[in-house]
Structure formats: structure tokens, C-alpha cells
Symmetry: C2
Subunit: 379 residues, 2 copies
């Protein structure tokens, strides 16, 4: 039967039609003046996205490429770093450090919990760390960490704070300059409402002072070279021209709504989804739920994979499951990026119907009721 394809995954996310159409325009050459003009416009908008006065670097890679770039550009030989790890994406910082033989301590946070900022403070008191790596929105568990509070600990020290903002930029409040963060990386296929392909980094003056003296071997992700070419409206190597043309449009959409309003939208959609999940009688997995993705415990007798498959089979809705040890135990519903109120109503009603048909609960309509009560406030 006829079913539309609807992505409720935390990246790739859905892409607005206007953006898709921009990307379908004839391909421009990456050194041509008409492309440079667009790229320079994009670069100004990227500063507003991160709330920074500094240039934002653009890379043709996934977010992981920008993460590795952040490590090799900010860490010097002999440095000792701290990794805060509370999920699959926190682990990635540690994996990169391990691959580069970087001396790193790890704060292991129980998955689904936010990091205890006092514990971070204790670590920083006991040991001198050159760089702290953390995750803003931990997508594997639907958990948001308090980046602002950690930045309070590092901003007036010589320790750099490097943040994975891959799913949080464009969804959770983040004032890069004001909070005193040193590096935030993100990717295109998340809050920016684009297909995968581009990654970005905002970088503080404090970080640049150190990056200028970098001594680890790096070529493609050489941030100093990227900064120099950016000043001429260029990238060191061929960039994703069609994605950047799309990004220009996506940033126009975001800026027209306004960053604070975009954050409010994600807050409202997170609140509505969580209210609906509770109305169904399900439990949230995270103790500090993000507005990016809602992770939901699924009773063993129901089976998370059954829920995921039935959401697709019955309603054409693509959601995701747990990763690593959470596989089969949770489902994750994203409300990141190009999602509107109607999408939220759709996904929670579909979830309720799927749970009902799998024998969980005996109610229908309660999820919609709970979501609507949140959504129709100040609509």
C-alpha cells in the first residue's frame, strides 16, 4: 500500500524541498567567482550559527573527519588529554586518541546519564590536561551534557575544551564565544537539514594560538591551511559545491526563523515527544534527555526490533534502535532538523498504534493528546 518515506533518524535527517532544489542547480566550479561569492555568504552565516566572531572552517567529510581534525590540530606531542565518554560518540574521541597514541584519561559515564560536572572539576584539579574532549548531545543515548558548565572550568585556564556538537548545533543552545568553548565540530546531515557530506569547526583564539604550533602529521585536515584559504573565500581542496549551495539556502531558512526560535522548536518537539512517550506508558532511557533524539526503553517481551520494523511496515516511518549493549533494548526517535509539529503528532500516534498492536497498553489517542497539549501552547 502507498506509504510515504519519513525519516525520524538523528542524521541523516529530512531535507527541505527548497534545499533539494538548490542542490539540483547546475554544478558550479569550486574556484569560480560565483561559487566564492556563495561560500563567503555561507561563512558569514556559519558564524551566526555558532555565535562566534571567528571564521568557521568547512570540510568535505563526515563529522568524524572534523573530530579527527580537532584532535590532531589541538593536541601536541606529549600532551595529556581527558575524554568524557557516556556513549558511542564519546567513545569515538577515545578511539581517535588511541589511534594517534595520545595519552588520554577517560571519564566513563553510565550510558544515559549526563557527566557530573563536579567529577570533571575533580579530574582537572588532580591532573593537568592539555585538552578536554566531550560530547554535547550524545546521540546514542539521547542525552545532553552541560557544555556551558564544563567550559566554566576550562575557559580561564590553558586547557582547551573541544566539543562534539554534531547533533546539537542547530538544536541545543550553544553560544560559542560567550561560553568560552575552544572547538565545536558539527556535520551537515543533522540540524543543518542537508544530506551528509560537510563538516564544520568553530575555533577560539585560544585554540588558534595552539593550533598554529601544531606538530602532529596532518595534511587533508590541516586547519591552518584551511584558515588561510578561507580568508580568500576558498577551501584547500575541492569542496562539496552543491552541498554548500544547499547550505546557503538551509542557513537562510534557519536565520529567518532565528537561532533562539530554532532551539525553542527543538525544545517543544522534545517536550511533546517525551510527554507522548510517558502517556503511552513507556519510559525514557536518558536521565538528561536531549531535544535531538528521544531514546525509549522497550520491554523485552515486546522487542525493540519489532517496534522499529512495525513503524516502517505499518507507517513508512524510519526510526533507529540502540547501539552496542543497548541494541534490542531501546528505540530512538529523532526530532532533529526539518521536523514540524505535524511530524511530531504523526510519529507519536504511529508509535502508540504500533505498541498497541504489539500488545502493549490498551489505549489509543493518549500519545496525540499529550503531544498536542505541549504543541498547542504558544503555537
Amino acid at each position: 500500500m502507498l506509504k510515504k518515506k519519513r525519516l525520524f533518524t538523528p542524521g541523516p535527517t529530512m531535507v527541505p524541498e527548497e534545499v533539494l532544489l538548490e542542490m539540483a542547480e547546475p554544478v558550479k566550479h569550486h574556484r569560480a567567482p560565483e561559487f566564492v561569492e556563495i561560500f563567503e555568504a555561507v561563512n558569514e552565516k556559519l558564524k551566526k550559527l555558532f555565535f562566534t566572531k571567528n571564521p568557521v572552517l568547512t570540510f568535505l567529510s563526515s563529522g568524524t573527519g572534523a573530530m579527527e581534525g580537532a584532535v590532531v590540530n589541538t593536541v601536541h606531542s606529549g600532551d595529556k588529554v581527558l575524554v568524557i565518554e557516556g556513549g558511542k560518540f564519546g567513545q569515538r574521541w577515545a578511539e581517535i586518541c588511541k589511534a594517534w597514541n595520545i595519552d588520554h584519561d577517560v571519564i566513563h559515564v553510565e550510558w544515559g546519564h549526563p557527566v557530573d560536572v563536579n567529577l570533571v572539576a575533580d579530574y582537572l584539579k588532580k591532573t593537568h590536561y592539555d585538552v578536554v574532549f566531550m560530547t554535547h548531545s550524545e546521540t546514542s543515548t539521547g542525552t545532553v551534557n552541560d557544555v556551558k558548565a564544563v567550559a566554566e572550568l576550562t575557559k580561564d585556564t590553558d586547557t582547551l575544551l573541544v566539543v562534539d556538537g554534531i547533533t546539537s548545533i542547530g538544536s541545543h543552545e550553544l553560544y560559542f564565544d560567550d561560553w568560552g568553548i575552544d572547538v565545536v565540530v558539527t556535520g551537515s546531515q543533522k540540524g543543518l537539514m542537508l544530506p551528509p557530506g560537510l563538516a564544520f569547526a568553530a575555533i577560539s583564539n585560544k585554540a588558534w594560538a595552539k593550533i598554529e604550533k601544531k606538530d602532529l602529521p596532518v595534511y587533508y585536515f590541516d586547519w591552518v591551511k584551511a584558515k588561510k584559504t578561507l580568508a580568500k573565500g576558498q577551501t584547500p581542496y575541492t569542496t562539496g559545491v552543491s552541498l554548500i549551495v544547499g547550505l546557503n539556502k538551509a542557513l537562510d531558512i534557519i536565520m529567518e526563523i532565528g537561532m533562539e526560535n530554532i532551539w525553542k522548536k527543538h525544545q517543544k518537539h522534545g517536550d511533546a515527544t517525551r510527554a507522548a512517550v510517558k502517556a503511552i506508558g513507556l519510559e525514557l532511557f536518558s536521565k538528561s534527555p536531549s531535544n535531538v533524539v528521544t531514546a525509549i526503553n522497550i520491554p523485552e517481551e515486546i522487542g525493540a526490533s519489532n517496534v522499529i520494523n512495525k513503524m516502517m511496515d505499518d507507517f513508512g516511518i524510519r526510526i533507529t534502535g540502540g547501539q552496542e549493549h543497548l541494541k534490542g533494548k531501546i528505540i530512538r526517535i529523532s526530532h532533529l532538523g526539518y521536523i514540524d509539529d505535524v511530524d511530531i503528532i504523526s510519529v507519536v500516534a504511529a508509535l502508540e498504534a504500533v505498541m498497541y498492536n504489539l500488545g502493549f497498553g490498551n489505549k489509543l489517542g493518549e500519545a496525540t493528546k499529550a503531544a498536542l497539549e505541549v504543541l498547542t501552547v504558544d503555537n
Copy 2:
């Protein structure tokens, strides 16, 4: 705030992305072999759409063009015809007859009611009519008429039955050959899930015998000429090549699902919408509701235009109001064409929230519950 545009109007209707992409392919010349090949494939599929062995004519016009074509090709000078009129589109048959000075009687059916087939039988017994014109799905009132029963009255006589199937083809059961109908016209922007621009006519052998001897002046809508050129895979004049390329894809989608399943889908979506409307505490306008569009009475103190505006302002959902004397009294929600279960959930939940916020009723979630109870049966 970010809102997606969603059409729940009975034409234009939403168009599948795959069809839009086909139409974005480079324009073909209407006499080129590669276009003729596509057009011939389309013509075979159109026969399956109408359940007829005869060729189906394609016109570059709105549905009204095909209606006028049906009149001037089937009616001869001196003929007397009968028009069944129970809404704005039934009126159109009478308006065309009037414009052409055709001697016509009109059965005036109360808007929102189906025609009484016994009354039609009485008319046919009392007077000899050369042609009967009727509407299958009367979109202005959301009412479906019993075409099969009227065809029973005409099929073994020399009276032709000409049916406006503009919104019913692809949504309501209609077996052209088996039922013994003589002409059915339809348009592209309805059940066929295309933008406006094309109109179609299925024509019986009995009708062709008369059309071949037509004596009213006609050029653009000359069906005899159209039939002759169709035999060569052509149209008499330039046709809408991109629309036909899109139609080829749309018919593939429809045929893959199967006509009977498409009808079942519309039945289910009509049933679900009607159940939700009742759960909200609202009344259906039609006494014989179609599966094309649900017409709903809106209490005067709420105001239909307030509901329509709030559906757009709060949820980005476009619905329509009443026409002529029903203006301000009813709203119309279409579930025609490229609509899936999730769309139905969306539109009824949004309607309930809008009514609630306008002060009607004190429930939320009941519309979704009622719709889901229908939708999840044999999903």
C-alpha cells in the same frame, strides 16, 4: 516557525516525489519516437485505470475542457438531455448545456444528498433523453452518487450516460465497460497524483457510434480527430509532454498497488476521517459521503473560515471551505490521491486541536484514537 506545506484539497492534490522528478527530466518533443513510446505505454495503462478495452483520449486542458468536449461530441442538434445536479460540479453540466443552447431538463438534488435513482428512472420513463449527464463524486459537497445504478437504466437503451469522474477516478470503484457507462471524464490533478493540465475521456462503442456523426461545431475538442491520431500514438495538437511523462510514472505506482487496493485505501481513509470527525463531535455534511473529500458542518459560532485559517497558521495544512451557499458553513478535507495513513492521522489530530483551541469540545486525542482504530485494521 518551521512548517511544511501539506495539501488536503480535492485537487490539486499532493504529487509523489518520484513523479515530480520524472517531470523534471529534459522536455521531449511531442512527435519524437521516444515520446510516442511513452505515450503509447500511458494509453495502455489508462485503459486499466478505467477498466475499458477502448482507447482513452488525453487532452491538454482542465477537467472542464473534457466536460465541454463530452457535451459537444455526444449531443447532436435537436437532442434533449437530462442533467443530474446536486452541487457545483453538477451545475457545470447544466451551464455547458446552457452555453450551447442544448435543450436540457435538470434534476435538482438537495446539496449533500445523492440522487434518488428511482427518480432518474421516472424521468427516463416519462421523457426520451438522448444523453444523461451526472457527477460521480460531487466534490463541492463530498457526496458520491450511484453511477452503477444509473448505468443500469441507460445501458440497454439508446440513451448515453456521460459521467463526471474528475475526482472519482482512482478513488471510487468504477468498471467502465462492465457497468455500461458511455463516457467518463477525469483530470490529472486528482486521483492521478499529478499537477493540473491533463484531462481524459473513456468512451464506449455505443457513444462512438454517435460521436462519429457529431454535428455541433468543435475543433480543439474534436474527439474523432483525437481518436484517429491516438491510433498513431499521437495527439492532434501539442500535448503536455512533461505531464505525460509524469503520468507514466504515476500510473506505474497506481498499477503496482492495484486499482482495487487503491479504492480500498480511499475507503479506509474516508472511513478513518469520518470516524475522527464524529469523535470530535462534528457532523458530516453529506448523506452519502465520498471517499474523495469529507465535508464537515462547522457551527456558526466557530466559523468555517476560522477553522481553515487556523489549520494553515498553526499546522501548515491547507483545507478548503464550502462553495456557493455553503461558503462559511462547511469545511472540506480531502483524502484523495497521494495520501497515506500518517497523513490521515496528521489532519484529524490537527483538526481536533484547532477546534479545541477555537473553544469547541474539551477533548484531545479522540480524533486520533478513532482514526487509528480504523487505520490499523488490516494495515
